[in-house]
C-alpha cells in the first residue's frame, strides 16, 4: 500500500462501534439497501417462477413456487457487501439452502452458473455454494423479497460481493469449468471475496 495521504481528509462517516470490524477493506457502512441493476427490472410473478438445477448433474430438478415452499426454509442473518463499496450489516433473509437443492441432483462438476429471468448470469465454484454458504431466498427482513431486490426469489451468497447473489434467479447450471458470467465478462473478478478485495480483473 502506498503511503499517500489525502490533504485535509478525515473520516466523516462511522459504522456503529460493534460493526466496524465487520466492514471489509474499502467498504462503508450503509443503513439503507441501494438498488443496482444493469438493465430493466424483470416482472416475474410467483406463479410463473420456477427454480431449476441442471447441467452436469445426475438428476435435473425443477421446483414450482409451491413445490419450492415445501422445502425446508431457514432464517439467514447476514452482512452483505456490494462491490460499489457499500455494506449493509445485520440484515436477514429467508430461504432454502443450496445444499438442499443440490442434494438429489448429484452434481458431477465443480462449478456452477447461476442464471436469472432477464438474462443475468454469474459464476461460482461449487464450494462457494455448498456447506451452508448459499441460499435461494424469497423473504427479506420478514417481508416478501421486493421485485427491485430480485423478488420473487434471488440467490444469496453473503460471503462474496453481492453481484454473485443473482436477483430473479431461475436456476443453477452445474459445469465442469468456471465460465465468466455477466459482470465477470465485464471487468469484475471471477470469485469476488470482499475480505480479499477481489473487485476487478487481476485483483
Amino acid at each position: 500500500m502506498s503511503d499517500f495521504i489525502s490533504r485535509g481528509f478525515a473520516r466523516r462517516r462511522r459504522a456503529p462501534d460493534d460493526a466496524s470490524d465487520r466492514l471489509p477493506p474499502g467498504q462503508y457502512y450503509e443503513p439503507g439497501f441501494p438498488v443496482l441493476t444493469a438493465g430493466p427490472t424483470p416482472h416475474v410473478a410467483p406463479e410463473d417462477w420456477g427454480m431449476r438445477v441442471d447441467g452436469m448433474v445426475r438428476n435435473e430438478l425443477e421446483w414450482t413456487w409451491d413445490e419450492f415452499h415445501a422445502l425446508p426454509f431457514e432464517e439467514v442473518p447476514c452482512d452483505i457487501h456490494c462491490v460499489t463499496k457499500w455494506s449493509k450489516l445485520g440484515t436477514s433473509f429467508r430461504g432454502v439452502s443450496v445444499d438442499v437443492l443440490l442434494a438429489d441432483a448429484d452434481p458431477q462438476g465443480g462449478y456452477a452458473t447461476a442464471y436469472s429471468y432477464g438474462g443475468y448470469t454469474t459464476n461460482l465454484p461449487l464450494p462457494d455454494l455448498t456447506g451452508g454458504k448459499a441460499w435461494v431466498v424469497t423473504e427479506h427482513e420478514g417481508n416478501p423479497l421486493p421485485r427491485e431486490h430480485g423478488g420473487p426469489a434471488r440467490l444469496l451468497v453473503p460471503h462474496l460481493y453481492f453481484w454473485k447473489s443473482a436477483k430473479w434467479v431461475a436456476g443453477l447450471r452445474v459445469m465442469d469449468h468456471d465460465e465468466p458470467g455477466f459482470w465477470e465478462q465485464n471487468g469484475y473478478h471471477m470469485r469476488g471475496d470482499p475480505w480479499k478485495e477481489e473487485r476487478y480483473w487481476n485483483d
Binding site: 499517500f4 489525502s6 444493469a38 438493465g39 465485464n186 480483473w201
Partner: protein, 240 residues
C-alpha cells in the same frame, strides 16, 4: 444481456496518484475535476474510476465516479461529482480539493454501461446521471458526429443543468420543479410524449439516474416496444 460480446479490454492498472489540473463549478452542487494521470489508459464512454482517500490515521474511503471526458483527451480524465450532504468523498472533493492537489485513483472500470459506437442511440439522464452520458455525447461529437444520438435530460431547476453550455440540438431538457424564466420547452417528469419526441424508440437506450428515475424511464421506454435487452441502466442512491 448475455448476448453482448465482451470486447478486448486491458485490465485496469494499479492505484495511481493524479494531479487536479482544473476545477469547474458546474452547478451549486456539482463540480468537475480534470485530473492528470501518470498511468493514463484509454477508457470506454460510460466507464468509471475508483477514488480512494486516505486520512493521516490510515482511515480510507473509496467511491466510484463516472468519467465525463472523451477518451480523446489523453493523459487526463474529468470526473464530475455531485455533492452528497451525508457523503464522505464528494464533500471532500467539493470543500477541500483545489487545482494542484493530488488524488489517488484507479481505473477505468466496468464495460457494460458503455457506448461502443452503436447508433441510433437514446440517452436518458436524471440529475447527475447525465455524467456518463455526457462522456458518450462528447466522444460522438469528436469522432462520429453524423451518428444519431439523442439525450433526454431531466433536472429540477434552471440552476441544476450540468454541462449547460455544451448541450446542443440533440438534447431535450425538461425541468421538474422550476424552469428558468422564459422557458417554453418541456416541464415535469419524463413522459411517453417526451420519449417519443426523441424519435429513437427502437434504438439502444442508456438510462442513468436515481433508481426511481431509472425505473420510471425504463417503463416508458419498454412501453414504446424497445427490446429490454437493448436497455442498459446505471443507478445510484438515494438508497431504499
Amino acid at each position: 444481456m448475455e448476448r453482448l460480446t465482451p470486447v478486448e479490454q486491458k485490465a485496469p492498472g494499479a492505484w495511481q496518484i493524479g494531479t487536479v489540473t482544473r476545477v469547474k463549478q458546474e452547478t451549486p452542487r456539482v463540480k468537475s475535476f480534470r485530473i492528470e494521470l501518470p498511468m493514463w489508459m484509454e477508457h470506454l464512454p460510460g466507464q468509471h474510476y475508483d477514488v480512494r482517500l486516505t486520512a493521516p490515521d490510515g482511515y480510507q474511503a473509496q467511491r466510484s465516479y463516472s468519467i465525463a471526458s472523451s477518451p480523446l483527451d489523453e493523459r487526463e480524465v474529468e470526473l464530475t461529482i455531485d455533492r452528497l450532504e451525508d457523503g464522505e468523498v464528494s464533500p471532500y472533493f467539493h470543500d477541500v480539493v483545489v487545482e494542484g492537489d493530488q488524488v489517488e485513483l484507479r481505473g477505468p472500470f466496468a464495460s457494460y454501461f458503455v457506448w461502443r459506437g452503436e447508433s441510433p442511440v437514446l440517452l436518458i439522464g436524471g440529475g447527475s446521471g447525465v455524467v456518463p452520458l455526457m462522456c458518450m455525447l462528447r466522444h460522438r461529437r469528436r469522432t462520429m458526429p453524423e451518428l444519431a444520438m439523442a439525450l433526454v435530460y431531466s433536472v429540477r431547476s434552471g440552476e441544476d443543468v450540468i454541462f449547460a453550455d455544451e448541450l446542443g440540438e440533440e438534447t431535450i431538457l425538461t425541468f421538474t420543479r422550476e424552469p428558468p424564466a422564459g422557458w417554453n420547452g418541456h416541464t415535469g417528469r419524463i413522459d411517453s410524449e417526451l420519449i417519443g419526441s426523441a424519435g429513437l424508440s427502437d434504438a439502444g437506450v442508456f438510462v442513468c439516474g436515481t433508481n426511481g428515475f431509472v425505473e420510471s424511464a425504463v417503463e416508458l421506454v419498454l412501453a414504446e416496444g424497445v427490446n429490454p435487452r437493448q436497455v442498459r441502466t446505471e443507478r445510484f442512491g438515494p438508497s431504499s
